[in-house]
Subunit: 197 residues, 2 copies
Amino acid sequence: MNKTETRARILEEGARLIHLNGFNNTGIQEVLNAAEVPKGSFYFYFQNKEAFGLAVIDYYRGQFLRMGLEHLKNRTKTPLVRLNDMFVDFRNNFELLDCRMGCPIGNLATEMGDINEAFRAKLEAVFQEMRDGIQAFLVAAQENGELTYELDTRDMAEFILDSWEGALLRMKAVGSVAPLQRFEKMISVLLGSYRPK
Amino acid sequence: MNKTETRARILEEGARLIHLNGFNNTGIQEVLNAAEVPKGSFYFYFQNKEAFGLAVIDYYRGQFLRMGLEHLKNRTKTPLVRLNDMFVDFRNNFELLDCRMGCPIGNLATEMGDINEAFRAKLEAVFQEMRDGIQAFLVAAQENGELTYELDTRDMAEFILDSWEGALLRMKAVGSVAPLQRFEKMISVLLGSYRPK
């Protein structure tokens, strides 16, 4: 493996282990073992464990972005249908993980938000990108006439994102995707019936 | 202090420290020090650290229940106004904690849900009680005519609870109560405009 491949491999295994066990419970040596990278080479790729954690957040961000953009750019269905399709796709992925683990960004916000300002700021930046992505569907729905009424698309996108994070948290507690299915249904209702007062 | 008072004091300090640092990062000795209880007496009150953690969940449950019942039993306002008042009260409490820490039940579900079945089951039971509480407001609103349309109150209560948990998670990331205020507004809109299809 060249340097870029080795770094990518460390990040991939780190992302998997941190998603499973959290940041503080994941040791550098454990990640290197999983990546089959020689001991001692970690600091060649990352300044310290914090820098590694921040790079893992970028890795998660890339995964969310890839899946989101795929649906955002698909022009064969209407924006609100594609928004729902995106959430269904994510649900299917979480179901493949046995409804465990939950959202890697939400988990890290819970674990690290209060104790590490660099993590908090970076996680909030990812949340804001996710919100921007959801808002893009809503704006497209306004433009093509699917949403026929006035709507603060940013506020609604924030609410949709936060509610999704809550549904993912509950998924872990209940051990099924029922909270995600409820979320999808209620957001459809909300987008279909919203009337500003 | 008698035995009951000592146990209550250990739980109170344990609840505070676990809310702040999580379950795995809270040591028994640290709790005993904070409670000013002699070393070695822990196992007189709790079989092990897990039993202690489960008792701390009961402590949190009691706090949520007390605040919820206060609003549920208040008959001077309509049910939906009281439901909103309850969320505003909780928001004010979270703001007093500088928007840090988040929901103790949600945090533990994230931290422990996948790794300890006794914790997961107990946390989900508390979520279900919280859902029942929210549902009671919705049922009362149907009975007094404030909700005039057909509504699956249980599904809606689940969605409200999960969305609140998500807003509390986001509060930690963004460092303000804005997600809670958005949640309150959107739930009012949803309850005011919901029309089943």
